[in-house]
């Protein structure tokens, strides 16, 4: 395995984790709709218990996404997390609140009341996808940072007092520490596109996972609303992406330059990513339309045979393929995946920000465990979902 191959391989793995994370945001999507999917306390509890059996997967994927980035592209970890401090902190706060809310919300003695914890779940359901989407958008839109490795050996900075210049290599070039990203309308557009995609996935998951006609009917209505909003935002961003300039780097010299229509060129030169993107989008739409027709059938025809379309799967797989294609387009083909709007040459590429060949090789061997991990997740998931969740189970079995 050459160093170049390992860099591409690890960008693929990180992108795959990112794509799986976006799919698993169905937990957040459904939680953001908990008030409108459940018409009473018991209905809301059913929705929360449905996502409550999966929230740990989303959480763990987020943590592993961070860990994989740290191991494979430490300069990104250092620059983005240390620079866009507030953006990441708000994301983390919302996930901390989510992590405890499932367990605490219906427990005797929870001090804050069930509604407070349900509010936390809704808050994470909105803030999580919007800001994670915004963070992903910065892979295309850029961020305001400077990388200067020489700071580490700047004698003046070393010997100065603590509160002046620190010998830090990655610096954010403004004082907003990541919140400035939200001033870019395209970051916001992409963030909300991810949010509405999460809602689509959330409604499809609930329809597939919950055995309750009323909740499923409500979910079907929310599905169409979210789909319209998602399509408008996603198509707008995709057109913007294909027409915008991108940051390219010379693989020999490492010099970074601006290239018009860079992402369009990437999709044309890496045609297989374009195919992946198109298949992904088609699958997303196929799942939505299939569920819409299924819902319509059940509403209009009491003898409708198709009671369960399992549309979460084509839409979910489509989501993974679409996001994977976008993230690979951001980093492959000599593209700077984390452009710096403050200093062109500070932009991060998979070549200048990755770990050493030894570490990438070692971690590549570790990554061979991933199929095994996926296999036991699938087995356990199927066992837990062998019977659809209903109100009776919530009343009589273990439940949040």
């Amino acid at each position: 395995m050459s160093y170049e191959f390992l860099q591409q391989y690890w960008w693929f793995l990180v992108s795959l984790l990112g794509a799986l994370l976006v799919f698993l945001l169905f937990v957040q999507g459904a939680n953001s709709l908990v008030g409108s999917l459940g018409d009473d306390a018991e209905g809301r509890r059913l929705v929360i218990n449905s996502t409550g059996r999966k929230w740990e997967f989303t959480f763990t994927t987020l943590v592993t996404f961070g860990g994989a980035f740290f191991a494979s592209f430490p300069l990104f970890y250092s620059t983005s997390f240390g620079g866009a401090y507030w953006l990441w902190m708000i994301i983390l706060f919302s996930f901390v609140l989510q992590a405890v809310s499932y367990e605490f919300q219906n427990k005797l003695g929870n001090l804050l009341g069930a509604k407070t914890f349900q509010f936390f779940l809704v808050l994470n359901g909105i803030v999580g996808p919007v800001l994670l989407g915004g963070a992903v958008a910065t892979f295309f839109e850029g961020s305001n940072f400077i990388v200067a490795k020489e700071n580490l050996v700047d004698v003046n900075s070393q010997l100065s007092t603590l509160n002046s210049q620190l010998p830090v290599i990655s610096q954010w070039a403004n004082a907003s520490h990541g919140l400035d990203a939200l001033l870019n309308p395209w970051v916001v557009v992409f963030g909300f596109a991810v949010f509405f995609l999460a809602r689509i996935l959330g409604t499809l998951y609930i329809i597939n996972n919950v055995n309750d006609a009323d909740i499923r009917s409500r979910a079907n209505v929310r599905l169409m609303g979210s789909t319209i909003a998602f399509l408008v935002l996603f198509v707008a961003y995709l057109v913007h992406l294909l027409l915008k300039d991108g940051y390219a780097y010379d693989p020999v010299t490492g010099i970074i330059s601006i290239e018009p229509y860079k992402y369009l060129h990437n999709f044309l030169e890496m045609w297989y990513l374009l195919v992946l993107l198109l298949i992904g989008v088609v699958l997303v739409l196929y799942g939505i339309i299939r569920e819409y027709l299924n819902g319509k059938c059940q509403k209009e025809d009491v003898n409708c045979k198709s009671s369960n379309s399992k549309s979460i799967w084509p839409t979910g797989i489509g989501t993974v393929l679409t996001v994977l294609a976008l993230l690979l387009c951001a980093g492959w083909n000599n593209t700077a995946y984390y452009p710096s709007t403050a200093d062109l040459q500070s932009s991060l590429t998979i070549a200048n920000s990755c770990s050493s060949e030894f570490t990438l090789t070692t971690m590549a061997y570790v990554s061979l465990l991933i199929p095994f991990v996926l296999a036991y997740i699938i087995v356990a998931w199927r066992k837990i979902d062998s019977k659809k969740l209903d109100k009776e189970e919530i009343r009589t079995d273990e439940a949040y």
């Binding site: 970890y77 405890v100 490795k149 070393q158 050493s356």
Partner: protein, 522 residues
């Protein structure tokens, strides 16, 4: 003499340290109970699997409910810790991310998914999977948590004893050269054994305390006795194991972090035949005047014990703070440089690196200048981190915290061995239900004491390493992110409020659940 409270820097470095310490301390309130309860509830469920008696199933479900309440908080605080390496210690993340990131990634892939997958089966799968599958899920949840502990402790051990890496002047960072050395370093193995075994004690103390409360109230006697039999044995074995692994850890610290050992012992001037201080009168808020004082005042010590602890030899040599500051000759005859000399050589290394980088990018250099700088860098690289120190006193960790925390840990640890012996005596030789009430109450009192001991262990590990984030390689002020201190202050207080509130909620829920007791299906 430096007054500690006046020397706190209000800047981003100390606020970042405070935030990380806050998160780590809270995280360690939940993790040991998770690790400890995982073992006990695993054994309880195994009893159910073997006997198929409904009692054991009800008992397993009861302990799993308490486990679940605690588990969520461990998960919530854990995510913050991982990301804080990036958000607050971004320079660190670059300088050693090539090595440090790997264990965290492996932890995510190997351990977190195992935990998160099987914990859902454990909670919700009683009616959905076979008894064997459920039992496997319960054990795999605990195993996942333990594997997670392994990798994060590998990462922490590497900060104490950086091995398996080399500095690359072209990338300006340390790079891993041996994964085996990092993952299987003796320091990591000792740390894992000592930490995980001490976590089992917390689980055992918690279970015994809950059971004793039931006995005080005269209810759930069968659950209490059967659970105590398991927890008592786990607790005694773990307490003795913690003492043995603790000794091994201390010997390792003496070898690779002599300054930490000197601070733990308030040993100002070392030598052979060193005694272990039982207690001494040290101002808890001020750094002692180690340069002027011969030894800590009012010192009561056990002869030769420190030499045995550190070297397994009653006549072994142990270096004191002043020896390390001024340089000393090791028992093998090699000379350890003074801190001033290390600072000078560290500065040489830093300047050589700067010179190498300039020469490398200068078109006029034919390579000879860069090579000369590289030679100087390589000769002095092991002292690189010292080049960031401004004064030798910065190399001394804050003695009182290390001194008292070490004594609290060891003292309570010894008390725990005695406690579990008494509990097992009453369980097997007497009738624990009619045991004196002080025994039942002492079990409840042991819960906070065990936690204090456990946290004290971490205080020694982390305060003793100061001023370094990575021992001898990178001090805290060269590891931090370039943030305004106001940002870190705000997030510090948000975390403080959030974690404190959630801790109060968790404790209240646990108390209510315990008061409610198990739900018997049988």
């Amino acid at each position: 003499m430096t007054h500690y409270l006046l020397s706190i820097d209000a800047g981003v470095v100390d606020w970042s340290r405070a935030q990380f310490a806050l998160t780590a301390i809270y995280h360690w309130l939940f993790v040991p109970l998770t690790l400890g309860l995982a073992v006990i509830m695993g054994i309880v469920e195994t009893c159910y699997y073997r006997t198929r008696k409904p009692f054991w199933k009800d008992a397993a479900k009861f302990w799993q409910k308490l486990f679940g309440v605690n588990f969520a908080m461990g998960v919530a605080t854990g995510i913050i810790l991982e990301f804080e390496f990036g958000t607050n210690w971004s320079n660190y993340s670059w300088f050693v991310g090539d090595i440090f990131g790997a264990p965290l990634a492996v932890e995510g892939i190997v351990a977190f998914f195992m935990e998160s997958t099987f914990v859902a089966v454990m909670f919700f799968g009683w009616k959905k999977v076979s008894a064997g599958f459920h039992l496997a899920s319960t054990w795999l949840t605990g195993l996942g948590a333990t594997i997670s502990a392994w990798w994060i402790l590998v990462a922490n051990a590497w900060m104490q004893n950086p091995v398996g890496c080399e500095f690359n002047p072209d990338t300006m960072r340390n790079e891993m050269v041996s994964f085996a050395e990092v993952a299987l370093s003796p320091f990591a193995i000792d740390k894992f054994c000592h930490t995980v075994i001490s976590a089992w004690i917390i689980g055992a103390v918690f279970v015994v305390a809950v059971c004793c409360w039931y006995l005080l109230k005269g209810r759930e006697q069968k659950l209490a006795i059967e659970s105590m039999k398991i927890a008592g044995i786990v607790g005694l074995v773990a307490s003795i194991g913690a003492a043995l692994t603790g000794h091994q850890s201390a010997a390792r610290v003496a070898e690779v972090q002599p300054m930490k050992l000197a601070a733990m012992e308030a040993l100002y001037n070392g030598g052979i035949d060193q005694s272990l201080t039982g207690i001494a009168l040290i101002n808890p808020f001020a750094q002692p005047d180690y340069e002027q004082e011969a030894e800590a005042p009012m010192k009561i010590a056990v002869p030769y014990a420190l030499s045995i602890l550190a070297t397994n030899d009653p006549h072994g040599y142990v270096a004191g703070i002043n020896d390390i500051l001024n340089g000393y000759t090791k028992p093998d005859g090699t000379q350890e440089l003074s801190i001033d000399e290390k600072i000078e050589r560290g500065k040489l290394a830093i300047n050589a690196l700067a010179g190498y980088r300039q020469a490398k990018f200068a078109s006029s250099d034919d390579g000879s200048v860069a090579s000369a700088h590289l030679k100087v860098l390589q000769e002095n690289m092991q002292y690189f981190g010292y080049g960031y120190l401004r004064d030798k006193s910065e190399a001394v960790p804050f003695v009182p915290i290390n001194f008292y925390a070490f004594r609290v840990m060891v003292g309570v640890g010894c008390l725990l061995i005695l406690f579990f012996m008494v509990v097992l005596f009453f369980l097997y030789k007497k009738d624990i239900t009619t045991a004196p009430k002080w025994l039942h109450w002492s079990a409840i009192v042991m819960v906070p004491l065990a936690y204090i001991a456990s946290e004290s262990g971490w205080l020694v590990a982390e305060f003793g390493r100061q001023p370094w984030t990575i021992q001898d390689m990178l001090p805290t002020w060269a590891s931090v992110s370039n943030l305004q201190s106001s940002s870190v202050i705000v997030t510090f207080f948000i975390f403080l409020a959030l974690f404190t509130t959630m801790l109060a909620v968790e404790i209240n829920i646990l108390l209510k659940q315990i008061k409610k007791g198990p739900e018997y299906q049988s």
